[in-house]
């Protein structure tokens, strides 16, 4: 079957998931502290996670088009759909932007005027870390990304309809894809710095954007494997075989190792130089959030490394599903531990704004569900966002055939064998 039909029962499941998400967000909001820290940080976490998956899917697709890759084209519609999720992603970010201007959330210490007034570091950074840049940076940059995603999608659909053996559409796609690569590379760094790195406003790391990029990459690949296997289970994507999945498994393996390498580079260099302003980032995580800190490494390195090393495991659907699910949750946890400690610290700072307590002094906080470890509400919220993602992606899949019949690499993809 080449034309996807979003079954009513599946749609209902995604509605249920979204409903669960909304419910969890509501409950979180109600039981939260006065700044609604848990609510907003859950929202930020999931928005960044899924929007990032969308962005990186666009990037991957562009890289593959530019590199003349042919093996994946019978599943390219999945990545096209993932990339279009940037549109709801922008809407989700808009909520955060409104929250920023309205003072509804205190996720970012640099957005708190009182804090900036007394903090030299925040004052210095305010030329970049301010509401204006956050807003317009997000809107304009994501706007550009959406433009590229839609452009590549339109060319892909046009090729299906009007493509000839002159492959004019394909050549155009190559130009747009190639142009997106440096653009996406530069601009995603700026947004990562704004959205995620600035949560720990006093800290910085030049590798940060590449590290989050790698985390998104593995997440996107894991989600793709799960989606593809699910679609095959439903009878679609017959042209995708173990050969294609083997390749995706290889990417999952390789980029999990690449992510670990970036994790280690960032950690070891900061550990080695032992500069207080930098080490505080990891000290907080190792001392106060050890389960997250070590769990991150175990789940995202040890599991994929040992499970996916052998050739045969990358061809077994069950194993791939298991490892992809583990790694997807693992990288969701990675973003969790990137965001939560800083947000909690900021919240305490803002709430203590009458009291004079030395910045950098880390009071040992008691265990807080939803910060030191994801609770049921976090999982429910994640399921909600995942439901939204699946709903949107599957709706896009309905709009085009899985078989790109005029793609120059179609024959290669159909006969793909490793």
């Amino acid at each position: 079957m080449n034309q996807f039909k979003f079954a009513a029962s599946h749609k209902a499941v995604t509605y249920g998931m979204m409903g669960l998400g909304v419910l969890c967000l509501l409950i979180t909001f109600l039981i939260d502290d006065e700044l609604h820290t848990r609510f907003w940080s859950n929202y930020l976490h999931n928005t960044v996670f899924f929007t990032g998956v969308a962005f990186i899917s666009l990037f991957i697709m562009s890289a593959f088009i530019t590199a003349w890759a042919g093996w994946y084209v019978t599943m390219k519609r999945v990545w096209e759909a993932y990339a279009l999720f940037l549109i709801p992603g922008l809407a989700l970010m808009l909520v955060l932007i409104i929250g920023l201007w309205g003072g509804f959330h205190h996720l970012y210490h640099w957005a708190d005027a009182e804090a900036v007034a007394t903090d030299k570091i925040l004052q210095h950074k305010s030329a970049f870390l301010n509401k204006g840049w956050y807003t317009f940076g997000t809107l304009i940059i994501m706007g550009v990304w959406i433009f590229f995603a839609m452009k590549l999608r339109q060319l892909s659909l046009d090729e299906d309809q009007y493509g000839t053996t002159e492959y004019k559409y394909h050549h155009k796609m190559r130009i747009w894809a190639a142009a997106f690569l440096p653009l996406g590379g530069f601009t995603s760094a700026a947004l990562v710095w704004q959205w995620v790195m600035s949560v720990d406003a006093h800290w910085y790391s030049t590798l940060y954007a590449w590290y989050t990029g790698a985390s998104w990459f593995v997440s996107a690949m894991a989600l793709t494997i799960l989606t593809v296997i699910f679609l095959k289970f439903m009878g679609y994507l017959e042209a995708i075989t173990e050969e294609h999945l083997h390749d995706m498994g290889k990417y999952l393996f390789a980029f999990s190792i690449f992510w670990t390498y970036l994790w280690f580079s960032q950690y070891m260099l900061i550990w080695y130089a032992n500069v207080g302003e930098e080490t505080v980032y990891f000290q907080t995580r190792q001392r106060e959030y050890p389960v997250l800190f070590y769990g991150n490494l175990i789940i995202n390195f040890l599991v994929p490394f040992f499970v996916l090393m052998r050739n045969d495991t990358k061809r077994k659907y069950g194993t791939l599903v298991f490892v992809s699910a583990v790694v997807l949750i693992g990288h969701w946890l990675d973003f969790f531990q990137m965001i939560k400690p800083g947000v909690l610290h900021t919240a305490h700072e803002v709430m203590a704004h009458g009291h004079d307590h030395a910045h950098g002094e880390e009071a040992h906080h008691a265990f807080m569900m939803g910060f030191h470890f994801p609770g049921l509400l976090e999982i429910g919220t994640m399921i909600g966002f995942l439901g939204l993602f699946i709903y949107f992606v599957f709706s896009r899949l309905e709009k085009a055939s899985f078989e790109p019949k005029n793609d120059p690499y179609l024959a290669e993809s159909l006969q793909h064998h490793v």
Binding site: F264, Y267, M268, M309
Partner: protein
Amino acid sequence: MAKANKEVLYGLYDDEEVLLEAVHKAQEEHLEIMDVFTPFPVHGLDHALHLSESRLHIAGFIFGAIGTLTAFLFMTWVFTRDWPIIFGGKPYFSAPAFIPITFELTVLFSAIGMVVSFYTVCGMSPGTVNPTLDDRITDNKFCIAFDTTNADATISDQLRAFFSSTGASEVNVKTI
């Protein structure tokens, strides 16, 4: 590897696809191929010959694991037991600093171990002289060879018929 003199009946082909078809035919006719020689690896040939999968990667993994343990345990012993010194205010068991060398030695042991294993199981080393059936096999000819040392005339004829029916460009006998 038996070094006793063998009589080999071999056929040369000009194309690897023709060779593959011939190999399939030989399997169908239950002819026992001694070996197949090609100037480059032919995709699908090991499958056609029912060759068992190479286990070199297992050797690679084991050697690598030995490298990992050797490096990490040795450095740990040196810096926690043998002669502990404080470097840069770091703890004696400075695990992050051990990682680069551990990784390198893993790769080194794995690579050397695998390469040495490869040449050992293939029976190759500097100066090994293997009798070649034909100098053109490393050029542009593909060869199927049968061991006809103890074969009688009927088998020889059967083999020659096989060669001519599968499109071999030459058939020769050699004693090696």
